[in-house]
Each structure stands twice: as C-alpha cells, then as structure tokens.
C-alpha cells in the first residue's frame, strides 16, 4: 500500500521475507489449530473413560464392530491420547518458534524511529490536504504537539518540506505477545495441576458419619495425579452432622445443605500449640456445605456433590441378639430418589467361617422415600422422606465376601445366587416400622431412614496459576484486538515564490497496519486539526477528506 518503491526497496525485500515467514508459520499454526479442534470433537461426542466408564462399556456393547478400532485409536480417552498430546505439543512448539523471533523484533522495534514519510501521501488509504498560511516548521511543530501519545520523528526534506511521521499502538503487539505467552503458561500450569493434584469421592452418612483424608483407602474412588501416591494428602476430617434437602411441590429440588464439623491441619496440632482458633487442639469447627459453596481448607476443597438414602434395618437373630445397619443405597431415579441397594449382615457370635457362610443375610431391593404402590409394586412419588417404604428380598447363605472377588456394595454376588449358595428366604414390602419374620425365627425390621451425602475432595496446587494465566490471556487478547497499530504522516511544503509564495501546502496521510476499519474517524479528527488555520481550500477539496478503501 505504501506506494514509493524506490526509497523503501530494501524495506520491501525485508517485509517480503517477513511475510513469507509469517505466512508459512501462520499456515502451520492454522493447520494445527484446525487439527486440535477436530481432534477434541470425539472427546465430546463419544463417551470417555475419564468421565463415565459405564457409558463407554454401554457404547462398546452397542457398537461391537467399530468399538475395538475406536478404542485402539484412543477415541474413548481422547484427552490422554498420544496423538492428541502430539497435536497440542506441536502447536506449542510452533508457537514458541513464532514467539521468540517476534518478541525480539518487538524489542528492537521499541527503539526504532517511526517510518519516514512516504513520498506520495495521496496513495494512502487515508489522505487529506490543504494550504495554510503558517510556516512549514510551525505546522509540524503544531502537529507534534497534537500528536501527544504518538511516537513522532521530524525531518526536513531536500525540497524544504518539513515532515512528521508518527506511529502509535505498539501495545497491540505487546498484547498479542502476552496473549500467546499466557497460552503457553496456561498449558504448563494445567499440566502441573494434573501431575500433582488429586480428586476423590466418598459417601458419608448424615447424622455423625465421618471422613478423614488419611489416604487412598478412605475414599470410595480416587483419581490421583501421576506424582501423587496418596501418602501425603492434606490432613483434615469432616463430620456430617446433618443434611437437609428442600423441594418444590413438584419434586424439583430447591436446595441442599449439609451441616458439618471439620478439623483441619491446624486442629491436628501441626502448628504451634494454641494455634487452633477454637481453643483446644482437635476442636471441631462448624461449617455448611451447599451446592456452589465448597469448604476450602488449605490445599483441599470439599464439595457436596450428591445425596441419597440409607434405609436402616435391625435384624433380631433367633438367639435374641440384634444387629442394626444402615448403608447407602443408590438412587435409580434421580427425580423421585427411588433407590436400590443391599444391606448385609453376618450372624453374630459365629466364629466358624464354614457356619458363618451358611447363615449370612442380605436385604436387597428398592427403597422409596415417599411410597407409591401400584398393586404390590413399589415406586416413589416424591424425593423427600415423607412416607418411606422398602420392597425387599431377604437372602440367606454365603454372600461370597470371603471369595476374594470384589463386591458391589449395592447388590449381592449373583454367581452365589446362581450356584444356590445364596437363597431367597423372603420377599415383602415393609413400611417404616414394619417387620417380617423368617422361617428360622429371625426378625427383620425396617426401622429408620438415614440420608447420605457424597463428597468430593479436590486438590490442585496449580489452579491459581492457571487462573492468572487465563486472565493474562484475556488481557493480552483485549489489548491486541482493541488497539490498532496506526501511522500518521504530515508533510508541510512551502510554495515557492514562483508559484505565488507565502503559503504552505499541508498534506496528511494515514495507514492502519492491521485493520483499516475504525481508523477513519480518528484520522479525520487529527487531519482536521492539522489542516486547520487556513480557510482557503487547496485543490478545491478542503477538509472534505478523501478516503480510499
């Protein structure tokens, strides 16, 4: 656009080289960005092991032909797949390769003078001219005063014309560099968090249940970062004092709240004696957990992520001994909280394992917080425990707990049932307080309901750095997209005596280096001010500013 080839010939060569370099690497970056977008898609569209392993298995069962291939390609675990890592690592290599020279250029450019005034200003996208009575030097001096905040350079051409070249908007490139570097920082801090963080879930019964962050085994499920072995978790304990759920009349939940007590590292006397605010070491402090309101303790955060019911059964064995148990059942219907599960009992006082294996009991079936019977079939009509009931099978025999196989806490080992070692001895619906009697005189009573709460404990040592990087991304982006790198030139040439003399022809030109749109108004304003001071228009076109697109 800059239309004077001779005096900027070397500049053209350099800028050609720059363009070529920019083009090639930009194209690489484009392709890699495209691949990144494309590669992330299966991670969103196919079930992922990391999010929902059961969904992956379901999908694989439904699509037996394609699944093995997809699995081998890592499509069920995209975000840890090698090829996905390859894409973003390549992208970041290309980014570094692009940023380093750009940063150096930028640093050099900071000291450079604004580009000399082009010979032919009328070829620029923005241009205006007028003739004034002021001296050329006065015009340029006034222009420089006007261009405060711009970097300016003044020159006198052999013809006697005075020029000002001005440039502004260097922060655009700075913002752009900040943006790209912050992206790098974001990736690195994200990765650090993944290496050194952990996430675990645990179910705790309301009404006094406790959880202590003592190690992997305290959790129902635990996802450690590669550098976490579970031995040095942040020490704290949580006691679930109470849980309240409120519902709209239609059953839609309105609020969940868990009242808890907790002890953090300080309470364990890790600090100096007396460091505990509550007084004696080991004191419990009260807190409330709600959705969107986690408990933040030192490095760990505790979240309320789910809840459900634990029906309480008391079994009176023929010898008169009683055992009571309440263990979490899981909801099979998230709106009515109809739940299923298995509560298991060992016969008391039986030491012989052989005998014990004949007389273990399991109570399995459905629990409804608000019972609704269709004939004898139990379902639930409301999620709150208004009218609880259970529909249970009682099984007796060998639960298989000593078989060495892992067992679901929500059901019985079906192979035991199939092999006849675990036999159903009763099937009945019980309302709260009702009981049933087995053939051997054992009495099973449904005598209460407890709520359970599922907690998530998360630890990510890098997350504040991730946030900081993200904010730098945003700030850099804002600067880079809103600031325009723009140039402004003034040439004030005296009219020779031969041509009438005594006047000065002032020409101004403007060029925005990235996007012309939006520079027009600023240019118009500046041009009008520079050209002001003489009512006589030049070339019949006063400050009616020519603007080319």
């Amino acid at each position: 656009m800059n239309g004077s080839p001779n005096d900027v010939l070397s500049g053209v060569v350099a800028s050609l080289r720059n363009t070529w370099r920019g083009l090639t690497s930009m194209r690489t970056a484009l392709i890699l960005l495209f691949l990144l977008a494309l590669g992330a898609l299966p991670g969103a569209l196919l079930p992922q092991y990391s999010l929902n392993a059961a969904a992956v298995q379901r999908y694989q069962a439904e699509h037996p032909t394609i699944s093995p291939l997809l699995d081998r390609l890592g499509f069920f675990d995209v975000f840890s797949a090698v090829w996905f890592a390859a894409i973003y690592l390549l992208l970041f290599v290309s980014l570094v390769g692009c940023l380093v020279p750009r940063s150096l250029d930028y640093a050099r450019g900071l000291r450079a003078r604004p580009v000399a005034t082009p010979r032919n200003l009328s070829r620029l996208p923005h241009h205006a001219a007028a003739s004034v009575t002021a001296e050329p030097a006065e015009v340029t001096a006034a222009a420089r005063r006007l261009l405060r905040g711009w970097r300016t350079a003044e020159a006198v051409e052999p013809s006697g014309a005075h020029t000002v070249s001005a440039e502004r908007g260097y922060l655009r490139e700075a913002g752009n560099l900040v943006f790209h570097f912050a992206l790098l920082a974001l990736l690195v801090t994200f990765a650090v968090g993944k290496l050194y963080g952990y996430e675990g879930q645990v179910i705790v019964l309301a009404g006094g249940g406790q959880f202590c962050n003592s190690g992997l085994l305290a959790y129902d499920s635990f996802k450690p970062g590669i550098r976490v072995d579970g031995t040095r978790l942040d020490p704290f304990c949580v006691r679930m004092d109470g849980f309240t759920a409120e519902y709209e009349p239609n059953g839609q939940p309105r609020s969940f709240q868990a009242d808890i007590g907790y002890q953090d590292a300080a309470a364990f006397g890790a600090g100096p004696a007396g460091a505990t605010v509550g007084g004696a070491a080991g004191a419990w402090r009260a807190a409330t957990l709600r959705v969107n309101h986690p408990l933040r303790l030192g490095g760990a955060r505790v979240y309320l992520i789910g809840h459900g019911y634990a029906p309480r059964f008391t079994v009176t064995f023929p010898d008169g001994q009683q055992r009571t148990s309440a263990i979490q059942w899981r909801s099979v219907d998230t709106t009515t909280l109809l739940s299923e599960g298995a509560t298991k009992f060992d016969p008391p006082g039986v030491t012989d394992p052989e005998q014990r294996r004949q007389r273990q009991l399991a109570i399995t079936g459905l629990f409804a917080p608000t019972a609704f019977f269709d004939g004898a079939v139990l379902s639930s009509s409301f999620p709150a425990p208004r009218d609880p009931a259970v529909a249970i099978d009682v099984l007796r025999g060998d639960l298989g707990t000593e078989s060495g196989r892992g067992q679901s806490i929500f059901g019985v080992d079906q192979s035991m049932v199939e092999s006849g070692r675990l036999v159903r001895v009763a099937r009945q619906n019980l309302l709260l307080g009702e009981q049933l009697t087995l053939d051997d005189g054992t009495v099973v009573r449904f005598d209460g309901v407890q709520q359970w709460v599922s907690l998530q404990v998360s630890h990510d040592p890098a997350q504040q750095w991730v946030l900081l990087s993200a904010l730098c991304v945003l700030a850099g982006l804002g600067a880079s997209l809103s600031i325009r790198r723009r140039r402004f030139w003034v040439r004030a040439a005296p009219i020779t005596e031969a041509e009438g003399g005594g006047r000065t022809v002032v020409e101004v030109g403007g060029l925005a280096r990235t996007d012309q749109a939006g520079y027009g108004e600023e240019f118009t304003r500046l041009a009008a001010l520079v050209l002001r001071g003489d009512p006589e228009p030049s070339r019949g076109r006063p400050a009616a500013l020519a603007r080319k697109e």
Binding site: T19, G22, L23, M26, R27, A29, L30, L33, F34, L36, A37, A40, L41, G43, A44, L45, Q48, S50, L51, V78, F79, F190, E199, E248, Q252, P253, R254, S255, F256, R290, V291, N292, H293, P294, R301, Y303, I305, Q456, S458, D460, Q463, V466, L467, A470, L471, V473, L474, L477, G478, L481, S482, T514, D515, A517, G518, G520, E521, T524, R547, E549
Partner: protein, 309 residues
C-alpha cells in the same frame, strides 16, 4: 420462591408476538432482496451515527427506480419492524425474569431467546453504523428459526432454578455466553453473505469488503467475550463441580469453537485468505450452534440445565 404465572403468560405472549414481528421483517427483507437489484442497501437507513464516514458504496442501481424504491421501502419497513420486534422480545425476557425473580437465562428455552435478542440488538447497532440492511435476510432467518425451535421444541415453563444453578456466576458466565453467541451469529451471517457475494451469486448484497469487515469486527468484539465466558465458566465449575476443567462435552465443544475462531483470526491476518477465513467463521458458528443444540440435547454431561427431557 413462587412463580408469578400472570407475568409468565404475558412473557409467552410477547415471545410469540416477537417471533411474528420478526417473521414479517424477514419477509420484507426478502422483498427488499428480491426487488433491489444490484443495490447495497437503502442508504436512508444509515443517516445517523455514520460519523460522515462513507463505507465503500456500490455503483448506483441499474434497476428501474420503481423497484429500487420498493426495495428501499421494504428495507426501511423491515428495519422498523425489527426494532419493534426487539422491544417486544426484550419485554418477553424482562417479564419472565420478573415472573421467576431471577435472570431470564436459566434453561435452554430462555437461553436461546436471550441469544437471539443479543443477535438482533447487535444487528440493529451495526445498522446504525453501516449501510448493510441488505443482509437482513441472513440475520433474521437464523434468528426466526432459532426462536421458533426454542419456543416449540424446547419451551420450558417458568420455574425457579435448580440448586446447581443458584449462583451469581449464572449472571456472569451465561450472560457473557449469550452476548458472544449473539454477536457471533451476526458475524456468521455476514460471512455467509460474504461467501455468496464473492461467489457472484448475490449481487444484491452489500459489497464484499463491507461484509468481510463487518464479520471481522463483530468477531473481534465477540471473541474476547467468549474467552471470558469460558474462563468464567471454569471458575464456576471450580466452585460447583470441584474442578475448573473436566472435558465435559459442553466445555470441550466451547473450546473447539474458541479454537476455530482463533483459526479465523489467524486466517484473516494471513494475506489472501479472506474467503478461507470466511469459511472458518461460518464453521465457528456451526460449532456454536452444535454446542447449543446437539450437546445439550443429545450428549449428556454436567450441563444438564436444558430443562428438556
């Protein structure tokens, strides 16, 4: 927290009214498009706010002055109707907010409606500064389709928010997402227009470089807002779900859209890539819409606020 059903009903009426008014505006834009041969737009529409800065104008029309006037009139009426529609539409959202005493973007129906309003307002703002009403069909068509789908398939009765959404972050994160989506919708429409204009199939559209610049400027406004929406979403996820990023489908596709728009900006900064860039912008919009519908309705994830099935 009870729902004021009277206000909710008025809100629904306004919604229906807005759709009808937009539909009429769309039809008039169709007339304008069909009648105005080789004309950029009705220049009378840009009297205000142009700052005396003339964008590239097309050569004067070569049609008869009768059809040109018809086109101009239709265009003017279409824009007036759009303004009217936007007011009724705004009233619909406001009434719903009052009916349920919360932000009016708590489920997919409301979210879709808010995005469309953001798009229409963006469009009206652009119309004040640029003579581009000839693009009206391209903007109003997706708006009407989106509103119609939201109002029928996705309609959700006024109701309080579920506990997971009761956080001030819904006002921040979702609002940013609404604004970004609305502006990007207009940007996408401009890019579609650009692609048709440069392929020589739609001479009646505004000039190609005007459309290209419009798309670019809308995108550079929306992109940081979208970036902010993602960051705000991550901050909220940290408080609500225990991690700031978990590759939830909605998060992932939002990031994919972000990457596609980053690709657009890179492509547009590359000389000689204007058409490629426009295609990428359209692809970005496709990903946004995909995220809105498909991911909410078909893929299950944490973002289960859709309130449908």
């Amino acid at each position: 927290m009870t729902v004021n059903t009277t206000l909710a009903t008025y809100s629904d009426w306004c919604y229906a009214g807005a759709v009808i008014v937009y539909l009429l505006a769309l039809l008039l834009h169709g007339v304008q498009f069909a009648a105005g041969r080789r004309r950029a737009a009705a220049p009378e529409l840009v009297a205000a706010g142009g700052g005396g800065q003339a964008s590239t104008t097309n050569p004067p029309g070569d049609g008869t002055s009768g059809t040109r006037d018809a086109a101009a009139t239709a265009g003017r009426m279409a824009v007036s109707l759009t303004v009217l529609g936007a007011m009724i539409h705004g009233a619909s959202l406001l009434l719903r907010a009052l009916a349920v005493q919360r932000v009016p973007w708590g489920n997919m129906y409301e979210f879709g409606s808010a995005i469309c309003l953001a798009a229409v307002v963006t469009w009206l703002v652009l119309l004040r500064r640029h003579r581009v009403s000839g693009l009206g069909v391209f903007v109003l068509l997706p708006v009407v389709i989106l509103l119609f789908t939201s109002g029928t398939l996705l309609y959700t009765k006024a109701a309080p928010l579920q506990p997971a959404l009761r956080s001030y972050w819904i006002a921040i994160h979702v609002f940013a997402a609404v604004i970004a989506s609305g502006v990007l919708l207009v940007a996408g429409a401009a890019s579609v227009g650009y692609l048709m204009r440069t392929s020589g199939r739609a001479e009646r559209l505004p000039a190609a470089d005007v459309l290209d610049r419009l798309a670019y400027r809308a995108t550079i406004v929306a992109f940081p807002v979208w970036t902010f929406a993602i960051i705000a979403g991550a901050i909220w996820a940290e408080t609500a779900w225990g991690r700031y990023w978990g590759w939830d489908p909605k998060e992932t596709v939002a990031l994919v859209a972000w990457v596609v728009y980053a690709g657009y900006l890179h492509a547009r900064a590359t000389a000689g890539w204007r058409r490629g860039a426009a295609w990428i912008n359209v692809a970005g919009l496709a990903v946004m819409i995909f995220n809105l519908f498909f991911v909410n309705l078909v893929v299950s994830g944490f973002h289960s606020y859709a309130g449908v099935g």
